[in-house]
């Protein structure tokens, strides 16, 4: 346990140092995640017609929460893992008595710590420019929201890492993620809150993992009515499914691995 704690501390501190090495790049990454803020403007304008169920400020808060959730849940493991497999860099990590996934996982966590100051400055700037959008989440909403964000990040990471393992067989595993991203984009609540979907569609979508990656934690933060238990169990269910597939692919993939280029 003590050894594991030391590994986690070391990975976090070293990868934090690695992430802050390129400050300008970090800022650009944060800015590249401002897509929800653009959508916020569009939906807020549309709500002026009075035909939508949300008021203008509700849209503003929702998309701001989406922006925050996205900042916490960005995942890029598939591109890194694919490169490691193709260039044989995975070999060095396979020779160590630790699953290579932990380097990626804690690399992502460390990046959060490096990225968040920039994201918070952007949020503060937003509230300064648009003070009527300011809201304070309830303590319960905040606690559940943060827990949902942590789960959403873990699920998104697990899903993408599972696709990444296809790099053992195909040289372009990232293409799977690009296809999957289409569903993520439309069904996760990034483009629109699920309340804007027809009831039947919304009910069907709630059985998929996508809304729990953005819509669910964002709704908890802004106080929209969602079922936390259903959210929790659906996320755990999908998490268990992807975990089993992930371990199966890992065992099969290692037999397939040829250490190309190394």
């Amino acid at each position: 346990m003590q050894r594991r704690g030391r590994i986690v501390r070391t990975l976090l501190s070293v990868y934090y140092a690695y992430m802050v090495e390129y400050r300008a790049e970090l800022l650009l990454w944060v800015l590249s995640g401002t897509f929800p803020l653009i959508l916020m403007g569009i939906w807020a304008q549309a709500s002026e017609s009075g035909l939508l169920t949300f008021q203008s400020e509700e849209f503003v808060r929702y998309f701001l929460a989406v922006f925050i959730v996205r900042q916490f849940t960005v995942v890029w493991v598939i591109w890194e893992f694919e490169r490691e497999v193709l260039e044989g860099k995975l070999s060095a990590y396979l020779l160590q008595p630790i699953d290579p996934v932990w380097r990626h996982f804690f690399g992502h966590i460390a990046e959060r710590f490096a990225r968040l100051p920039f994201a918070f400055i952007l949020i503060a700037l937003f509230f300064w420019l648009y003070p009527q959008a300011l809201w304070v989440p309830s303590p319960v909403g905040l606690g559940l929201g943060l827990a949902a964000i942590a789960l959403a990040f873990s699920l998104r990471f697990l899903m993408q890492y599972t696709f990444a393992l296809c790099a053992f067989w195909t040289e372009r595993a990232s293409a799977i993620e690009q296809f999957w991203f289409l569903f993520y984009l439309f069904l996760s609540g990034m483009i629109a809150p699920l309340e804007m979907f027809p009831d039947a569609v919304r009910e069907a979508v709630l059985w998929t993992p996508f809304p729990y990656l953005i819509y669910f934690p964002a709704s908890l933060l802004v106080g929209l009515p969602v079922d936390p238990w259903r959210g929790l169990f659906t996320m755990l269910g999908w998490g268990a499914f992807f975990f089993l597939v992930n371990r199966w692919l890992w065992r099969r993939g290692l037999r397939q691995y040829s250490g190309m280029g190394a």
Binding site: R6, I7, A17, L95, L254, G259
Partner: protein, 326 residues
């Protein structure tokens, strides 16, 4: 008991075939065909603890594939491997703590950070206590002469410094078995010598077993008493360097210094003419004709000096691989 035990090891890879041109591209897209390449064929050998063994072969001979199987990176198609009494591919923690693999053209260090940060990660993963970690880094850095470079970002290091830092990273956990794949690749002569000296010292200090591939014969002659020769996936020789010369070099090099300059055609009668510079010439003479040829040279030419030597080891191996002699 052997620390590395390899029995009839083979590895077969499927390789996609693609014809050039548009037709080939379309065929490749719709119906991919593969052929099997046997990278390693029925290789068997044992290595005792503390041995340094050279693993020689031309590019594509199967050296790296064999090393990958010995370290558990890839799964063998046939045969058995045991290293430190473990089956490598099971990748058990206790096995991984006893081995290391250094690949000259690959790096594990984080490019943008000082090497010391990568060492810290390795120390925590291998469970090396902090105090012991600092002691080991100090000791290894001194042996490798890179104490002052460890706090610079890896990208700012020279190739030689980087290679030494890679080696240090690979040895933090003090492995018993070292697999080294071209550890001196691209290094200048001084850096090569430093790495060789370090490996020798490490082997003596910790009685580590080393299996080393290198294209630089100086590495092999300086470090290895025993060599394994692999060609087209098959092991064609396992023994010491002297035995290698006897088996694959049925000739000697005769260097003669004459009284005056001489033409190559005047010497061809005695053997294959190698170098000819002014009054000095070297001749390649078959071993069974050596005594008779030397006697003739002394009798028929104005010889000032004459020496008989074994041909350089790299030349012998080069000839073996070129001719495909088995």
């Amino acid at each position: 008991m052997a620390i590395v035990d390899v029995q009839s090891l083979s590895k077969v890879y499927p390789v996609a075939i693609k014809e050039p041109g548009l037709k080939g591209t379309l065929q490749h897209f719709f119906r991919r065909t593969y052929r099997s390449v046997e990278a390693v064929r029925q290789v068997s050998f044992q290595i005792e603890p503390g041995e340094i063994v050279g693993f020689l072969g031309p590019n594509g001979a199967g050296k790296t594939t064999t090393l990958k199987m010995l370290t558990g990176l890839i799964y063998p198609s046939r045969g058995k491997v045991r290293v430190a009494d473990y089956i490598p591919f099971e990748r058990k923690g206790d096995f991984l703590r006893q081995i290391t693999l250094v690949m000259g053209q690959k790096q594990q260090l984080l490019w943008d950070l000082p090497a010391l940060d990568s060492f810290r990660i390795n120390a925590s993963i291998y469970g090396v206590p902090d105090k012991e970690f600092r002691r080991r880094v100090g000791e290894l850095a001194e042996m490798l002469s890179i104490t002052n470079q460890l706090t610079q970002p890896v990208r700012k290091l020279s190739l030689g410094e980087r290679m030494k830092a890679e080696m240090l990273a690979a040895l933090i956990h003090r492995p018993k078995v070292l697999f080294l794949d071209e550890p001196t690749l691209g290094l200048d002569v001084n850096a090569q010598a430093a790495v060789r000296e370090f490996l020798q010292a490490y082997n003596q200090r910790y009685r580590a077993t080393v299996l080393l591939t290198s294209h630089y014969m100086a590495d092999i002659t300086a470090l290895c008493e025993r060599v394994l020769l692999i060609h087209r996936g098959s092991l064609i020789y396992d023994g010491n360097l002297t035995g290698l010369l006897e088996k694959f070099a049925p000739y000697r090099e005769v260097t003669v210094e004459l009284d005056c300059a001489i033409q190559a055609q005047d010497l061809m009668d005695y053997g294959e003419v190698g170098n000819l510079a002014g009054c000095t010439a070297s001749l390649i003479v078959r071993r069974e004709a050596l005594t008779q040829t030397v006697a003739r040279i002394l009798a028929e030419l104005d010889v000032k000096d004459l020496t008989v030597t074994d041909p350089p080891i790299e030349e012998v191996i080069g000839r073996v691989f070129q001719a495909g002699v088995v």
